[in-house]
Symmetry: C2
Subunit: 337 residues, 2 copies
């Protein structure tokens, strides 16, 4: 059997790539949340000891790589390739993390879907024989995101009920050709879906149609159904987007078998932590995957997970010009090692 | 023989992916330049009939895809995957091009190296058996870039002698598993190199060290030298960056055999077109590759080309915070079909 395309947008592997290690770095609010026991690094200082929030984000990524290398007993020279991206304009979180690190780097932009996109591409590089290993990496920071996408924090703007709270955190996963650990069974690449949502404070609604489209395509391409998964977890739809996904699926008669969870709903306690609709940002699915999920898969509590990274592909410029918010979702099927 | 890694950062293919088609869309200034006879679409209206420059950029990408499909006799449903990115914040040129197009899409950020990055990843996807074909796509627009990175155009700022002129254009290439056309022999993934250049008006100097590093690595990884190429062409170092590359190579004793050319120097007539150090932007290497270079390779005038996309990974935020400009360069070795 060789690597092969399945259906329209999916592919599987001759030999399933292995997620040999993972690491998560979480900010203060995140490390007070429901998943606090799963993070490798928890930091109370929003600046992570740096001068600016953007540099804090860079430092989180550095910490994630460092922790990943320590946990897997590797050094930088063992690493073939890093796929990474973030939310900052021109992805400076990722570029500055990798500068002068001597690590071959391919930069991505998939908004909050970047953890899934980088994992999928790492699997492609390793599964295709182009690299022995690859790191999938991403981050987001509440403060750098707020001032870039919305208002300066000092402005103290009132947040709408549909707004989500950008996660301060970074996650890194090491994908290898062989070894022990959760394995990547198949991947589905998403299309960009835009149903006309223009409210930049309701990104869950903008991303939900893309999540539905990718889950449906994944089932059809790979001949699976909700029954084949213990958990189908979306990136960061939040409460509003998750409810919308469930209601759209029901309308279409797509059976999700009660298996849906969402990283944006798991990462914070919505009642106690005042995050309105839930968590968001590249870091949201990154720390949920590289903290909670891979640990649960590794210890056998979860056996078959469909990890669906969702992204809202807006920019302040496109919003100011009155355009709607396109969404995208990439899915990675992960099974116990 | 299987796909395989060579050396530190390179890989080659069991069966070389084929560049089965290419298309280029050029703006007014570009279509008055030295390569004017090679572009498929030349447009005099800077807005490309749209309301904003950002939407003009989206439209250029749409035209590039449309022209590529027409030239190759394909329809959208034949296409498995699109790798694309651009310079706009959150890559909205690419995301809005792909919205509701039904095409599986993976977004990239490699600054002006994006044409090489998207070509390299398309080759990986096709060469690894994960897609039958993939489109590599990118664009840039002078007006949308200037206002985002530097000053509003209406301000009429004086440009420095080292400044480069962002190309208005888009290029698309179709990479297939089989067929006729130039073939991709090997690829080298760059590392992020930062030697401390802080002048955002001298990007050639910021990118030259990355170009040197990648060319050296490519030679060493693949066991080739300048003798094995008819042309080694960098993305958009411009005149200053090109001279710097040549002088650094000489100092290090790296023989480039007089084979170096630069897309930023070819795309404009520096004397007649008032572009100072030359062209730049994702569109620069995109239209030079998908206009001039692939035509020359296709008709046998060039047989062995090392295409080295260069990118300056700065953002206005990183510059305003006093940080230097990291550079990256990815190389794709292309041979006659």
């Amino acid at each position: 059997m060789e690597n092969h395309r399945c259906g329209k947008s999916s592919f599987s592997f001759q030999e399933m790539p292995v997620i040999a290690g993972w690491a998560s770095v979480a900010g203060k609010k995140e490390s007070e949340g429901p998943l606090k026991q799963y993070y490798d690094v928890a930091e109370k200082d929003t600046y992570f000891g740096q001068k600016t929030w953007e540099q804090a984000e860079r430092h989180m990524q550095e910490l994630a790589i460092e922790t990943l290398l320590k946990k897997t007993g590797k050094t930088k020279t063992d690493i073939n390739l890093v796929f990474s991206g973030d939310l900052l304009n021109q992805c400076i979180g990722s570029s500055f993390t990798l500068r002068n690190a001597g690590l071959p780097h391919l930069g991505l932009y998939g908004a909050c879907s970047t953890m899934a996109e980088s994992l999928l591409l790492s699997a492609m590089a390793v599964g295709g024989g182009f690299a022995e290993n690859a790191i999938a990496l991403t981050s987001s920071h509440f403060a750098s995101s707020e001032r870039q996408y919305r208002f300066p924090l000092g402005y103290g703007g009132q947040r709408t009920p549909t707004a989500q709270w950008t996660v301060t955190g970074s996650g890194a996963a090491l994908v290898c050709a062989a070894g022990k650990g959760p394995r990547i069974r198949s991947c589905t690449i998403g299309t960009v879906v835009d149903l006309g949502i223009t409210d930049a404070n309701n990104m869950g609604a903008a991303m939900a149609p893309a999540a539905l489209e990718t889950i449906r395509t994944h089932f059809s391409d790979t001949g699976t159904s909700a029954d084949d998964y213990d958990l189908i977890i979306t990136g960061d739809l939040g409460q509003i987007g998750k409810e919308l996904l469930l209601s759209m699926a029901q309308k279409e008669g797509l059976n999700l078998g009660g298996k849906i969870a969402d990283c944006g709903c798991l990462v914070f306690d919505r009642m106690k932590q005042d995050v309105h609709a839930g968590g968001s940002g590249c870091g949201c699915s990154a720390i949920t995957l590289c903290g909670y999920l891979l640990n649960k898969i590794s210890c056998g509590k979860l056996k078959r997970v469909l990890f669906c990274g969702t992204g809202a592909l807006l920019s302040p410029t496109s919003s100011q010009q009155g355009l709607a918010i396109p969404g995208v979702c990439h899915a990675v099927s992960i099974i116990g090692g």
